[in-house]
């Protein structure tokens, strides 16, 4: 019974996932850039934390945070689905409305494929290089260390699952906004910097000024990078970690409800472009 209900969504997820796994050249190029960028950031933060400063994060935690951030960069909801945007502009979106499925869930399934296939392609070589190759060359100090413990590892896995759910909800919201704006560019320009700064991808959130912390810990982007990677390094532990998972879940729900509401309105006013 349940299998029958999820069948269309599972099918579209699988098809998109398999398709996205084929973009190996892009993954390779991204891998090169991210190694370079990650190495520079590790050196900068190592220099910062070398002096007698009271840092809210240890160097070990900071380096793990940076490498994981580079490995899972594609988990960030950077942009709307370019193909859906093309369909909105060309009018092919008419066919999307012809499918006997829940429109939001259908696009969400597409987004989940995007937020798993691409990060998987990028993360695998990054984790291998920084977590296995560097330590075996005696450079473990600069590479990705193991999780802070068994509890941290388990909470990290749960948090990463919630990152996929949250990031997909973000992505679907962007897709829905494209139906209204007709172009993904404006949406992308607005959301990409927000995602990079507020997720902790640029600078780990705990290293930002103290007066910003209460806000930073409750805004939705923190659930994309900051929570799971601090859990990994043992910076976020115990009930604080569980509360962080809760915040990831709550933001996911809020974004899903918001996305559905906007989609309903957008589709009711849909005008198919070009007749």
């Amino acid at each position: 019974m349940i299998a029958g209900v999820v069948r269309p969504y599972h099918a579209v997820f699988r098809a998109r996932f398999q398709l996205l796994l084929q973009y190996r050249a892009a993954a390779l190029a991204g891998f090169g850039t991210q190694c370079w960028w990650g190495a520079i950031k590790v050196m900068i933060f190592a220099a910062f934390l070398a002096g007698p400063v009271a840092s809210p994060m240890t160097l070990r935690q900071t380096i793990d945070y940076i490498w994981l951030g580079q490995a899972f960069l594609m988990l960030l909801p950077w942009s709307a689905d370019a193909e859906l945007a093309r369909m909105v502009r060309s009018g092919d979106i008419a066919y999307e409305r012809l499918r006997p499925v829940d429109g939001y869930a259908y696009w969400y399934a597409r987004a989940v494929a995007r937020r798993t296939a691409t990060p998987l392609l990028r993360a695998t070589p990054m984790v291998l290089l920084t977590g296995v190759v560097l330590p075996s060359l005696g450079l473990g100090k600069w590479g990705l260390g193991p999780p802070a413990g068994v509890e941290a590892a388990l909470l990290f896995v749960a948090s990463m699952a919630l990152v996929v759910a949250l990031s997909s909800a973000f992505s679907t919201l962007l897709d829905v906004l494209v139906v209204i704006t007709l172009s993904e560019r404006g949406v992308n320009i607005l959301v990409a910097p927000l995602a990079i700064v507020f997720s902790g991808s640029l600078i780990p959130l705990p290293l930002l000024p103290d007066w910003l912390q209460p806000f930073m810990q409750y805004q939705p982007f923190a659930g994309l990078i900051d929570f799971p990677f601090r859990i990994y390094g043992g910076h976020l532990i115990g009930w604080s970690a569980v509360a962080a998972l809760g915040r990831q879940g709550v933001w996911t729900l809020i974004l899903v409800v918001l996305g559905r509401a906007i989609m309903r309105r957008a589709m009711a006013r849909l005008e198919t472009q070009g007749g």
């Binding site: 069948r7 269309p8 012809l98 499918r99």
Partner: protein, 332 residues
Amino acid sequence: MTEAAIVVDRLTKTFRVAQRRSGAWNALAGLVRRHYRDVRAIDDISFRLAEGELLGFVGPNGAGKSTTIKILCGILEPTAGQCIVGGVVPWRERVRHVARIGAVFGQRTQLWWDLPVIESFELLRDIYRVPPARYRQRSDELIARLDLGRLLGTPVRQLSLGQRMRCEIAASLLHEPRVLFLDEPTIGLDAVAKLAVRDFVKTLNRDHGVTVILTTHDMHDIEALAERVIVIGKGVILADGSLASLRRGALAERRLWVHFAGEPPTAIELPGAVVRQRQARSIELAFDPRTTSAHQLIASVASTFEVEDVHLEEPPIEEVIARFYAQHEVDG
């Protein structure tokens, strides 16, 4: 009379179109205050369609054909009016409705561009939740009838337009809909592909009883397929009936080609007929069949001149429809 498959009652759809006059000043002014104009895409349209009927929907560009189809498909909501397709109001119960209809929009594609055709079919199978055994039987049948066997492994982007259209039609029928909407299915196709599409649609309607609504600019599609035609212009229905009745109303004349054994006569005076054009050895006469009978005309031509051959023609259907548009001042 079988039960009505489709009832359309006073359907109206208005779009808001943003207006801007040219010039930099007006562009700036538009940032502050926008002007909108309401455009009536369709205006108070009503018709009924029985189950198993094949309806041709004709009209110039922008007449409202596609808008009507999209409302019937549940994609657009009308501004006013009502319609019921197979007992369901399309836009109110969209999911239930679209599971039971099929549609092909000739200028768009429903196949996944990067995937081989067969994978698109399998995706549609899962999206429409078609049971596997049922799907095998149905897809085998469609693949055989549309001759798709050799195309199945090809990615959609590499298909020719004619090949793709055959695949599109198969894709729209995998879930065995009882109503099929075809919006310009023959657009851009070559003669062979057009014939294949027409043939298939005809069989589908005649042998399988599928109700079909077809829009097209190719009047030969209509001539080959539709017993009933609705002509729509500027959002209103201008005519609803058979092609023959449309012909009678718009351009009833018939034409007689007379081929002469020698030089054709320079002047030809026949009651009820006028000369339309001359060629080296022949003359085309036009006459009104309601006042002049064809055999009288032929008899009087043959008795006056040395005639080698004659043949009768009806004005091409394109000319009839062009005349009809001109009469109703809706030509484009």
